[in-house]
């Protein structure tokens, strides 16, 4: 594909702009995390005049960062696995079977994305408390409650994407598996899932990020033992002060593993979304 000169200039220009746009806030974070608080509160300087690594030490004691981090990992990780598993089954049903209520199902699932979270927060909370009172299953204040809440947040889009992805896998492959003596579930596990690993990874990343960043529900549904990072980070801003430098240091620290994991999986994500979205 030959390209005219203007395209390569446009490339430099646009990508240059995007790099700046992406990097500036990241740089602000990094630079601020290496400054003492009083410098951060003062005028903006590109280079730290009093370079310090203190914020990276203080972050662990100002708030129980490690605990929140572990909570977030458990909640987001579990929600992701469950969401993806459930979405696989549902997507398989939608893509491989004709059944009554299919459209109703699809529409209902989509509509759940349209009700503002603020409002079903309160009813949901009440339902959780009542389930707890009736059955002894603690959903309010526990990680379990948050996990099942989050998994439903990512479920609709996960089903949608996976259904598209599954649809692109030729049905003849399923049939072949059935001839080999597999039931429909056997075909799913032997054929469809392996063939769509990249798509599943893509959905998993999406599900993880959805749970990782959620603030509103976590602020009401967790207590000091189960608080997640997304909410916990706000505790660097206290009654007395906003510890800007620590917020940013903590954000960098907790993002490193996520970004790393993200990058490792990026390859799959790219390939996965392709087939999923391009139904």
């Amino acid at each position: 594909m030959s390209e005219p000169r203007w395209v390569s200039w446009a490339r430099r220009l646009v990508l240059g702009f995007l790099v700046l746009f992406t990097v500036l806030p990241l740089y602000a974070m990094l630079a601020s995390s290496l400054k003492p608080l009083s410098d951060v509160q003062g005028d903006w300087h590109w280079l730290p005049t009093n370079l310090t690594f203190e914020p990276f030490i203080e972050i662990w004691s100002t708030i129980p960062l490690a605990k929140y981090f572990v909570n977030s990992l458990i909640v987001s990780g579990t929600a992701t696995v469950l969401s993806v598993t459930i979405a696989i089954f549902a997507a398989y049903a939608v893509s491989r079977f004709e059944f009554r209520g299919k459209n109703l199902f699809s529409i209902t699932v989509l509509s759940t994305q349209m009700f503002p979270g603020i409002l079903f927060l309160l009813p949901l909370f009440l339902i959780f408390v009542n389930i707890g009172n009736a059955t002894g299953i603690v959903l309010y204040g526990s990680r379990l409650g948050l996990i099942i809440t989050y998994l439903t947040f990512s479920l609709p889009f996960a089903i949608w994407m996976l259904a598209g992805y599954f649809a692109s896998i030729p049905k003849e492959l399923d049939e072949a598996a059935k001839v080999d003596g597999c039931g429909p579930l056997g075909a799913l596990i032997r054929i469809v899932i392996p063939a769509s690993t990249p798509g599943i990874v893509a959905v998993a990343i999406y599900a993880f990020m959805t749970a990782w960043g959620e603030v509103l529900f976590a602020s009401v549904m967790t207590d000091s033992d189960t608080r997640t990072l997304a909410v916990g980070l706000q505790e660097y801003s206290t009654q007395v002060d906003v510890y800007w430098n620590q917020v940013m240091a903590a954000s960098l620290v907790v993002s490193v593993p996520v970004v790393a994991g993200f990058l490792l999986l990026q390859r799959y994500l790219v390939a996965g979304l392709t087939a999923g979205a391009v139904k």
Binding site: T22, F120, T152, G183, M248, S251, L273, A275
Partner: protein, 326 residues
């Protein structure tokens, strides 16, 4: 869950009579079984609370009754009448925040899509450092939301922020000192909100479109090139049509996310956003959580739901028809 994840039970041995009937029955119910976990969870977490929310919109559910909902007096359509009375302050406030939200959504989705498309299309071709750039562009998506937005709030400060430092001190595009522009209050606050939202969302658009591009068969471009189509023609006649299904999904998802966005304005501006950037979700929060008047908040939410349903239905109808034509 565990039982479902286990290897599928061996199929019943083919045979006449009872087991065949069982197989037919299973064949009929299998899709429902597969959907069951999703349905149960969506019912529990979304639909039942949503129905409760709709029910709440017909109650006078103020702080006097939240301890015991059963005693809350029925308001009938009062809550709706109240929020839709555009001659009164509350109705006008809702309407104005609705328009702000519409503008915000259009601007944010359009820009995120534009940047995503531009980035993805221009990175279609292999060049040195492409992998590194792709990595970099995805970082904003992986940062915790609070961290990302609070950093922007930090940069937008008038006296001590990086934005005014660049625009004013370095580039001289805006005034400095006493003439420096505000970004967190006043007219500019709308654009601040859009910028932050685009910063957080464009990588997602970039990713989806990049993925879509990879699926376009190379020979389509080759065929177009043989026909003498230049770069721009190829983009118009191959890339764009092939991306249409991706864009259909992408636009809808971005639209729904952005329209219901609560976190970005909440973290950027604190509990009360400037009226120029007061999104409807913030407005609902203020009129229900802040004031503990959940009947009113529910009524607004139901109206919002109806609006989004309508938009989505029209959107799907239009785009699907166009899709079959293409």
């Amino acid at each position: 869950m565990t039982t479902l994840t286990k290897p599928a039970p061996a199929p019943a041995p083919p045979g006449p009579g009872k087991s065949a009937r069982a197989r037919v029955w299973r064949g009929m119910s299998l899709p429902y079984l597969l959907l069951l976990p999703a349905v149960v969870l969506e019912l529990l977490i979304h639909l039942v609370p949503m129905l409760v929310g709709i029910g709440m919109s017909f109650l006078k559910l103020t702080q006097f009754y939240i301890r015991n909902w059963a005693e809350a007096p029925v308001a009938g359509l009062d809550n709706y009448r109240f929020v839709l009375d555009f001659n009164a302050a509350a109705g006008r406030a809702l309407m104005s925040s609705f328009w702000v939200t519409v503008q915000y959504t259009v601007a944010s989705v359009a820009l995120a899509w534009l940047l995503g498309t531009a980035g993805a299309v221009l990175m279609q071709r292999e060049f040195r450092g492409r992998g590194g750039l792709r990595t970099l562009f995805l970082v904003p998506y992986a940062l915790p939301m609070y961290a990302a937005v609070i950093t922007w709030a930090f940069m937008f400060q008038r006296d001590t922020g990086m934005v005014n430092s660049i625009l004013g001190d370095t580039l001289g595009l805006v005034g400095t000192g006493g003439d420096a522009p505000f970004w967190l209050i006043g007219d500019n606050s709308f654009w601040s909100l859009v910028i932050v939202s685009v910063w957080r969302n464009w990588p997602f658009a970039f990713l989806i479109i990049m993925a879509g591009l990879q699926n376009i068969p190379r020979d389509l471009y080759e065929a177009a090139a043989i026909d003498g189509a230049g770069w721009w023609r190829q983009f118009r006649s191959v890339t764009q049509p092939m991306l249409r299904p991706v864009n259909q999904v992408l636009f809808l998802v971005l639209f729904l996310w952005t329209f219901n966005d609560f976190n970005t304005p909440y973290v950027l501006f604190g509990e009360s956003a400037p009226k120029e950037a007061s999104l409807i979700s913030i407005h609902i929060y203020q009129s229900s959580f802040k004031t503990w008047n959940f009947g009113l908040g529910s009524a607004m939410s139901v109206l919002l739901l109806l609006f989004l349903l309508l938009v989505t239905a029209v959107y799907l109808a239009v785009t699907s028809r166009r899709r079959t034509v293409v």
